[in-house]
Every structure is written in C-alpha cells, then in structure tokens.
Subunit: 731 residues, 2 copies
C-alpha cells in the first residue's frame, strides 16, 4: 500500500540535471574547469591577462609620450628612440596576445583551427561516400535528423552485432524489444514528464527559439577567446558562469542574459525570459485524443516496467541483466554538432539488477587487471588531469563504488577499444557530487575525445533502487526481489495497524488517504506518533495526498514493535545501468579511424578509414588487375568462396586504374583487397601498411576470413606467405 504515496516529486525534485545528464545531455565538453589542462595553464592564462593589461596601458602611456615629444618638437633621435621603444612594446603586446590566444584555445594556438580542418575533411568524406546523409535532403532536411547510408548502415549493424555478442550473449542477458510509443503514465513515474526539459528563450519579435544555456555559453566562450582585453577578474567570472551553467535556475539564467545584454543571434532582437521546454516528442495514442503519449526518451523504462516478469523468467534469482537496443527520441530545441546532437538516435542499454547488499561480480577478476585513463571526482576538483589507473586499485580503494560497477567499466573499455576507439583518447570520468542524482551511488561516463572535445558516449551508473521504486509506487505493483533464508530469522518489526472502522467514521471518503499516509510513516515518525498519542491522546497529522493536517486519535491506529519470524528478506534491487549512445560512438569511431596520406604521385591527399575488420562496412574487395575474361572468372570464383565463408565483399570490374580502385576502397575503410593478376595466385593487400602477399586462388578467401575473424593477425599472414615483390600499383 505504501507504494501509492506520491514520493515521486520529492524524489526527483532536484533531478533536473540528473535526468538530462543521464540522457547524454551535458556533453560534448565538460565545463572548462574540468578540462585536462593542468593547473599551471590556467594560472598562466590569468597571469597573461594581467601582463596584457599592463602592456596595453604601457603602450597607451608610451604612445602619449611619443605624441607629446612630437608636439614639443623634440629632436629626431629622441623621437626615433621613443618610437622604437613603442614598437618594441607593441611587439611584446602582440607576443602576449598570441600566448594568451593559445592558452584560451586549448593549449596550442593552431589546435582549434586544425581540429576544425580535420573534422571538415572527415565529414566531407563521410557525406560524399554516404556514411551518413542529412535526412530528407531533397526537402532541405530537418535539423538533427540523419540517415545512415549504405556503408554507415553496415558499420552500425556491425557495432550492434558486436555489442550483442560482447554484452548480451557473453553475460546471458535477457534482451527485450519494447515499443517507442509510450503512454504518459510511464513517463510521469520516471520523472520525464516533469523534469526532462531544457530552458528556452524566444526571440520576442520572430518567435525563433534558442536554448538559453547555449546562448550564455556562446557569449562567455566568445568573450574569453576573442576579447583579449577583458580583465583577469572578468575572465574568472565568465569561467565561473560556464562552470555552473548546468546548475542555474531559469531566473538566474535570465538575469545573466540580461546583465550581459545577450540578444537573439540572428536578429539582435530582445529575448524572452527562459522557461522550460519538455524535450519529448508528444503524440496521442488512439483516436480519442484523451490518451497522451510520447516517443520514448530512452529504452530503459521498457525494462523497468517488465522487471517482475523478467525476474520470474530468470528463476526468481538475482543478479541478472536485461538489455535493449532501440530508437530513442529527444526533441532538441536547436540541434547542432552534427551526429553528436540529434533528435532521434539508437540507444543500447543494460539494466543489471543486483542485491544492494551484495554488489560483487563473479567475473570481476577478468577485468580487474586492466589499466586505462580514469578521471575520478577528486582529480577533477583539484584541477588535475585524467590518469592511468588500474581498475582493480580503483575498486579496492573505493574510488569506484563497487565490483559490479567496476566490472562494467572494464567491459565498456574492452568494447570501445576493440571497435577501434583510440585508448589514449578515451577516459572514464566520474560524475561530481552535484552532477549526480541524490539516489545514485556512483556514476562514470566513458568520454571519447573528438574534434568537438570530450564526448560522453556511455554512461555507467549505479542508480540504486530509484527506478523500480518509482514504478512500484505509481503502478501499485511491487517490483521487488526476495532472498529466501535457509533458516527462519527472528526480526523486530514496526507494525502500523490503522483501525479502518474508526478512521472511516472520522474521515468518510478520505479514509483511504489517511490509512495510506499512516502506513507510509517511517519508523521514527511512527514512534513519535505513538509517544504523542500515549501522552496527549490526539495528534495533528499531515496527509500529503489531501494537502492538509487531520486529527488522529488514539483509537484510530495501533503502533507497536513486534518480534516476527521471517522466512525471507524482500527488497527492491539496485540497478547498475550502462547506457550506450550508439550514434556518438560511431561518430567518434569515424574520427579516430580517419587519416589522410599522400598519393603515390604526391599530388593529392587520399582519405583512409582504418576500421578494424570487425566494424569495416565491407571486409574485402576483389579486383581483376585488368579487364580480361579469365581474371573475371577467377574473381567470381573467389567471390563465391568469400560468400560461402560469410565475408561481405564487393567485386570491382571497372577498367579504372588499380591505384584509383585502392583509393576508393580505402575511403570506405575496406581492410583487404584481393587483386587477380594470374589464374593461379593472387595478391592480398592490407589497407594501412599497403603490404601485399601472394596466396593461391583456393586459399584467398580463407586467409581473409582468418584475419577478419581475429584468428590470426595480418603480421602472421605477412610472415607466412611470400611477399608481392614488385612495387604495388599505388605506392
């Protein structure tokens, strides 16, 4: 019965940032004070601003002095000397400006620029080769919606297949598949209807909408990066605003916007006050118009509402994990940052249910020895950078809250690096106390560095019992687990027994609310009431569902502590939730895999994606060296044996030069090319090294298969087979 008491509002009352940050909101950059830059850098920025301010006054003073000398018709040598001194000062000033520019743009002066250029090159290749396409392009598209074209779709399906193998099959997880259309009641229970919002401002004349925090953020960043004349104090203030952006109330945000005179970027019109906009796509289920629904903002709720059935399916045993891959939706106010901030995306989520009293994991030892970049709370607060830590140490020192959470951090690390994410640009960042929901035990984000900065791609949170409790309360269905005792145990239990007859006489139709409120008292409240009833005979009692106090008399409730034999312990399981933003992982993988190298003639830069075979959209291409029936027949034989081996491949029988054909497949990240230049032996070329070996026609498919399946490496192949002696056509 206590499940009916609406605890939800208090439970999520301060959950604005938690709910949004849980859904991959707070990225892609963490506030500046959390950046990896060492403290000394920040200090040097401050001293540079001071030095620049001093230099500027010196230049001004000296300029005045020069003008005074001129006015006073001083001697030419005297004036010349003064001018030279002024010029030196100006040189010093611009040197400081340059240093400051470098300091504010992330450590290296050309860094931002080169990141931008790198991204442009990668994105051009991705769009030209249809890895992705802005959706509905012929209708001028819709911001925040993208299609995966053929190679992108193949990469995505490889990533998902590997996810399924690495998590679902490996751990015997219970995979489910729930609809996107979700009735309102479910998302009220989860807190999304109330709290899944961003603050928005409107152009007061045109009605164009903007995310309030984005405008303020852009203003601060712009000022910091482009206006080198601001004082060190002003710079510190702007940085403080950036650091606390996510915690600002609508009023505080509005006040800052007004204080800084921020206007609509496109029109310079004044802006409205900030107000919350719910980020769920709303719709209506059925024809009546009275059943509101939403497109799910995450897949997790579909698992929570099925907990009871899944627990039963698992033989009423804990721990177990359920998993789901599917679309989720987020009606962004004004999406930007390409594939990183979209309105529809694929999530892969795991809900691992455990006994809160035992968060050990049987396979923990398999990952405890891993060492990788971690960024614990304390290092962030003290301005240090992420550092290599052994996972086992982090768990044993209590930096990571428990073994199961540690286990999943390790498994996520293995998953991402096997996909091809660069381990030096991957870090696990712990949520700060103020980022985390009050109910969460611990939370770590896998962040991947891209040209946009550090991007949150996987969130791994110990959410304790919050979600199951919320749905128990809203639905009235207890979502609990039980531990059977081998021997019954004696426990002392608080028993609250409302006397329904008396309560009915006193409160008529409100009886039920009063009964529920009485039963929902915690031990302390109940014992206080007991004492008060015994001394005074009557107490005032606040019933939140009625919104008022009611008088409770001694005959209306009996409160006692009783000894009971219990045969089992009933509890709400904790949930540990690794949640993967698949599109973000894929975009970062694209960036980490992309590089350019000069063509053989040196006259152009060729694009390459160094995808591992696991994720490459096509594993192999087959080229007859020249157009020739015999070679084409051999190519077809090889193609058939590749199909039989289950290797996705493509034949290219165009007469294009072999170098061009290699370049075309390098751009798609195809790891191997088989070139047919005889009817007996063929060459296999590896994409990144461009090395080639000679293999018989019969063996070709099996060699490729053994490498793509990970049974041997290219190095093994290179050692075993004769090398193709003549310089290959493309290098």
């Amino acid at each position: 019965m206590r499940f009916l008491i609406p605890l939800i509002s208090s439970a999520v009352s301060s959950a604005h940032n938690r709910i949004t940050s849980r859904f991959l909101n707070a990225l892609p950059t963490v506030p500046p004070f959390l950046n990896c830059r060492p403290l000394s850098m920040a200090a040097s920025e401050e001293s540079l601003r001071k030095a620049l301010a001093e230099k500027l006054s010196a230049v001004e003073a000296h300029g005045n002095a020069v003008r005074a000398l001129k006015a006073a018709k001083a001697s030419k040598p005297e004036i010349d000397a003064a001018i030279e001194a002024l010029n030196n000062l100006k040189l010093e000033k611009s040197s400081i400006e340059k240093q400051l520019q470098a300091a504010v743009s992330g450590g290296d002066g050309d860094g931002a620029l080169s990141r931008e250029a790198f991204r442009q090159a990668a994105v051009n290749t991705l769009e030209r080769r249809l890895f992705y396409i802005p959706s509905f392009k012929i209708y001028r598209g819709v911001a925040g919606l993208y299609d995966y074209g053929p190679p992108g779709c193949a990469v995505k399906s490889n990533v998902l297949a590997f996810w399924r193998q690495h998590f679902v099959l490996e751990e015997n997880m219970l995979e489910v598949d729930c609809p996107c259309v979700t009735p309102e009641v479910v998302l009220k229970a989860s807190g999304h209807v109330e709290k899944f919002t961003d603050l928005m401002v409107k152009d007061e004349k045109t009605g164009t909408c903007y995310r309030a925090d984005h405008l303020l953020k852009d203003f601060c960043n712009d000022k910091l990066q482009k206006d080198l004349t601001i004082s060190a104090e002003k710079a510190a203030e702007l940085k403080h605003v950036l650091a606390t952006l996510d915690d600002l109330s609508p009023e505080a945000l509005g006040a800052k916007i007004e204080e800084y005179g921020i206007t609509a970027p496109d029109t310079k019109n004044p802006l409205s006050d900030p107000y919350p906009f719910n980020l769920m796509f709303q719709t209506s289920i059925g024809p009546s118009g009275v059943s509101p629904g939403y497109m799910r903002p995450e897949t997790a709720q579909g698992i929570f509402v099925n907990f009871k059935d899944l627990y039963y399916y698992n033989g009423n045993k804990l721990p177990f994990a359920a998993a789901q891959i599917g679309q989720a939706f987020r009606n962004e106010i004004s999406p930007r940052q390409g594939l990183l901030r979209v309105r529809e995306f694929t999530l892969a989520e795991i809900e691992h249910f455990v006994d809160p009293e035992d968060k050990s994991h049987p396979k923990y030892s398999e990952v405890a020895g891993l060492e990788f970049l971690m960024f614990p709370r304390e290092e962030q607060m003290s301005g240090q950078s992420a550092k290599k830590i052994c996972l086992g140490d982090a768990v044993s020192k209590g930096i990571v809250n428990n073994e199961t959470l540690g286990y999943f951090i390790g498994r996520v690390y293995l998953f991402l690096t096997r996909l091809g994410i660069d381990k030096d640009r991957l870090r696990f960042r712990q949520h700060l106390a103020n980022e985390m929901a009050h109910y969460a035990a611990d939370c770590w984000d896998a962040e991947i560095e891209s040209s946009y900065g550090w991007v949150e791609c996987v969130g791994i949170a110990d959410r304790s019992a919050y979600d199951l409790r919320a749905h128990s309360e809203k639905s009235g269905v207890p979502l609990v687990a039980a531990e059977k005792f081998s021997e019954p145990r004696e426990v002392e239990k608080l028993v609250i027994a409302p006397v329904k007859k008396e309560l009915g006489l006193a409160f008529k139709g409100n009886q039920k609310n009063v009964v529920e409120a009485l039963e929902a008292m915690n031990e302390k409240e109940a014992l206080e009431m007991k004492a008060a009833l015994e001394s005074k005979g009557e107490v005032e009692f606040y019933v939140c569902t009625l919104g008022k106090n009611v008088p409770i008399k001694k005959n209306m409730v009996s409160i006692s502590k009783e000894k009971k034999k219990e045969h089992q312990r009933v509890f709400t399981p904790s949930v540990i939730e690794p949640s993967f933003g698949i599109g973000r992982i894929i975009y970062c993988l694209f960036e980490h895999s992309f590089y350019t190298r000069p063509s053989k003639a040196g006259d152009e830069q060729l694009n390459v994606f160094r995808f591992p075979p696991l994720v490459a959209p096509i594993k192999c291409t087959v080229f007859p060296l020249v157009q020739n029936q015999q070679y084409e027949d051999v190519a077809k034989v090889i193609s058939k044996s590749l199909t039989a081996a289950g290797i996705s491949h493509k034949i290219d029988i165009t007469g294009t030069s072999i170098g061009k054909r290699y370049a075309r497949t390098d751009e798609l990240g195809v790891p191997f090319a088989i070139t047919v230049d005889s009817t007996k032996d063929v060459t296999i070329r590896e994409r990144d090294s461009k090395l080639q070996v000679r293999v018989s026609v019969e063996e070709a498919a099996l060699v490729v298969k053994s490498v793509t399946d990970g049974l041997r490496t290219w190095e093994d192949v290179w050692e075993k087979f004769p090398h193709h002696a003549s310089g290959s056509a493309d290098d």
Copy 2:
C-alpha cells in the same frame, strides 16, 4: 519545371484503399467470396438455407395439424403417428441446421472452435514463456503495443539477420537507416497526409471510437453465422456487403449502419456518421510548434527521397535495390487480433529500381523452377481456389507481370519456407484490379494461413514510377535515371516555349504559374492549343494553381515539334517493392511451429515449438543428468566450446528431473539438448523426434554446430553416431 505542377491529388485521388492496403491493412481475412472454399460449398449453403426454410414451414404446418387432431379428439394411433411424423420433421430440421452451421463456419463444424482452442494454447505458451508481453502491463497496458521478451526478441533478431543475409547481402542491396520522425512535406508528397485514413464512428453519448467497417463486418458475419433463419436472399446481400466493404464510401457505409440498426457494441448508444481518421501518429518537430511531423507509417519514403544519392553511389547504374529495416507506426482506431494488428511494428522493405523498359532479372532462372500455391486474379474472380503453379509458367504466361517481380516472389517463397512457414499454408495472392492503385503494374501478397484466417505478411508490388515522380514533383529535385546511347539518336520532340516577357506583361505576379501550367501540357493539349491559337488567335486556358481560366494569345507561347539529336534517354525508374511485416511473419511462424504432445505418463499435454535451428531463440541446452561436480565441470567444458563455435545455449544445473528440463526447453523451441551422464560421452537429443545419439565430449559442440549451420541434417547425425540405447528419460 513541370515537376512543380501539383499532380499529386489526381494521382492518389482514388488511392484510399491502395494506400491502406499497401500498408498491410486489408487483412487478415479476404472477403468471403475470395475464400478458398470451392463453389459447390457456397451453393450447398444456399440450398441448405432454402431447405431449412421449407423444413421450418413444414414443422409449423405439421405442428398445427397435430394440435388440430388433438382438438378434434382424433384416435390415439392417429395422433401418435402424426406426432412421430412431426418429430421426424424436427430431426430433419436440426440435421439441416447442423449442416448449415457447418457450412457457414468454414467447412467443418468444429473448425472455428478448434482454431480458437489452438490459438489459445499457443498464445498461452507464448505469453507464459515471455515470447511476447503486452507492453506496460503493470499500468494495464496499451491496446496494440507489445514487447518481445527474451525468446521472442532472439527469434526476431534471427529472422532479421536471415533477412539481411537472404536479401541484402545476396543481392548486394544498399541498406539505409532513416529516422522515424518525418516532416509533413514528405508524407504530403507520398499521399499519406491526405489518404492514409480509416473510417471511424463515435458512440454519440460516450465518445468511444470504432472502426466503421469493423462494426458492419461484425454485424454481417454474426448474422450469417448465428441467425440460421435468414433467407438465402438476405444471406447473399450480407455477403455482398462483406465483399465490397473496402470500396464503400463514408456515405454508403453510414447508410448501411443506419439500415441495419447497428449501435455502439458496448453501450447500444446511437453512432455518429462515419468520417476519416488519419492513422499516423502526429507530433511537432522542434519547439516552435510550426513544424508538424509524423512517425513514419512505412520505411519506404526514406529510400525514395534518397534515390538521387543512392543512384550515384551505385555508379549511376540500374537496376539496383535499396533496403531498410525499421520501426513503423499506425495509430489504429481500435486494435484487435493480438500481434497481427499493432500500433508499432518492424518493417523490412526493399525498393528495387529498374528501367521500365527492361524488367528482366539476371538471377531469374534460379527461381523459375519453383512451384508453390498461387492465387491469380482470375481464379479469385471465378470462385476457384489457390493452386500449385510453376513460377516460370506464371511469368511466361503473363500471369505475373514481369521477371523481376517473379524473381522476388520466388525469393520471398524461399525466405518464408526456410524460416519454417508451412508451404501448404502459404499462398501468393494477386491483387484484384479494384484493390490495386491505378499506377501499379501488378501486385502479389504472400499470405500465410493462421488461426485468424489468411494473413497478408509480405506485399510484392510493381509500383511503376509513382513514388519517385511524387517526390520529384513536390521537391523540385528530378529523381531520374539516364541511359547513355552509344550513338546519338534523332527524336521528334514537342517544344513548348512560353514567351515570358509577354506573359509577364499580361499576368504580372501570376506569370510563373501560367508558365508552369503551359510547360506542363501534354502533347495532345499542346497541339490542340497550337491549332486553336492559329485559327482564333486566343484561347481560354485553365491554370490549376490559380484555380481559374486565363486568356492566352498567340504571341505568348510558341508550340512546335522539332527534330533533335539525343545522347541519352532520361526516365523515371520503376520500383518493385517487396515489403515485409516482420511481426506478422513471426506470429504466423509461432503458430506454424506450435504443437502439443502427451507427456510420457500421458497425464498432460506438453507444448513444443518446432523452430528450425536458424530461428530457434537458443540452439542448444546443456544438462548434467544429476547434480554432481564432475558432470557440471563437463557441462562447463561443453559450454565453452559452444561459445567458441558461436552457438547460443544455456546450461541448466537445477536438480529438476530430466523430463521436466526437456519439456521446458521444448516449450522454447530449443532444437538440441546435450545431456551429460558421463565424463567421456554425452547424449545429444533432438527435440521433435526425441531421438538421442552418443557423442564424445570433444565432438559435442561441433556436431551441434554442423546441424544448426545446415552443413548436415539430424538424419545424417542419426546415421553416423551410436544411438542412445536406454529409453530416454522423457519417452
């Protein structure tokens, strides 16, 4: 320019049924006159109704005669003889009633009942073992939304993986992945905004909504099946209504509802007139509220709008196919029939683009020899049933419009039967002329027989150039292909050259509309205008975008036929579209795979799903015969080798009896069980035959893998390995 003329409304003006039937609407039963029952059955029903009517009058007349005899105090023998004759008549009457009951309920009197009982048994097992779960069950669910639980989700992912292999990889299709959220303009172009509707009626007092055609259909079926006293003429009328249900206008449907006195089923309140309800879930994209969007009702549009890029990706060559797997949505008025009629479902769609002048297919010969149940238009119209036809004959005789369409029909047949669909309960039904859109060249549905009747599961349509033209016109982007000629060809072409200056002077701001309308004239219209201008100097010309006639003078347009050299032929490709309702296929597969058999003791019926290994949710279970550390260790060794072989499996080390453990896995459709009863050899048991062979521990995983991969059959295994001699535990 002609692309801007809004031809869309005329193009889909009669498309109501086409658009809905395209999206798997008209199922699961075809109108009664299309049923397989031979003509003689229908005739016997009519004669039985007549015989029953005669017998009823005879009984009444004879009853009166008996009463008259009694009143006249006739002799006892006389009265007794009359009563006996009356009783005989009554017996004859009930015999005819029984025959009629049997005739109207589908050929066998207990058929409907046993189908219902079969479905109940299958559905009970499916829900109990979590193959699927009504979504949001703890909140009392939402009609038409279902989750796939763990085994259902595994079956679904196996079906989709096989679909990808059988279609996408085998044919080198270009797979794409587009968002569900779709802006209005796209669905206006496709005709969905205007025409994707069902007719709805409302309970005039409570506002509850019903599908108008369902109410009328239920009324007619009920009357036909339960009221045996209606005349043969009335029965024929009701059958005609059922047969023409899909073609009824809102007015005609409303008139029938009134004529038959149909009221709201739940309340018996009067109903509103029927009116169209759009079946798309509507939402709003972005925060402004001015960008309406819908959840896509099919995945196809995402492919059409990308045609230009995909054609380029394919080297500007035809034919090629694009494919997409994804969620689609349909806001049903009142969903029923479980998994067959849902509000969100997975579609897998192929759009195969071909030159309309060449619809041959290079791999057609691979399927031309297949023979299976086909139900051509003519057989349906003449009341015959589906019959086995050789696909090659159907194509060569022109029953199937072209080779490519035939090729896909054959491939769909192979796909469905390999999944485990019973080939005797699968038929390909051709659309009747009145079911098909006017632009479609031909259309066949793969229908699977289930307990609900024949269910449309795959639609295979030659949609000609309709979709690409619709988007070309709406977007202004030409979605065309070109065939380059090896030699330039001379062609005579109509040239319409509006004189913009004169038109500008005459029509000012409307000039553009007039120019476009002139350019959009077809050859006949243009030549008529040319003649009229030459004879009269001026004509009235209707401009649809202005909604009025304007006067066109001779100096405003030049119309001529010119000879031109052309280097290429530019045309809009035809599209052949196989569209798969994955959820429906899976549900039918569940029914076709389900059977029960008595337990060993004969005291209960055990449930079995005879899934082929390809789709089975788990391929193998591993059981230690008794709880014993040695056996458990062997089980773990086997489990490791199964994992290495990529075989999904489960260990069951509970102490439950082996018979119960077999029954549990049979119910999940697990094809093989490995029972560990020694440390050297183990038994492998096949699910349906319950036969067991002895295999060494080392070989066990490989034997299972070879059968699940289809490299050998169970029969091969049975021949090769020693049989398990002792009667197995479960039979």
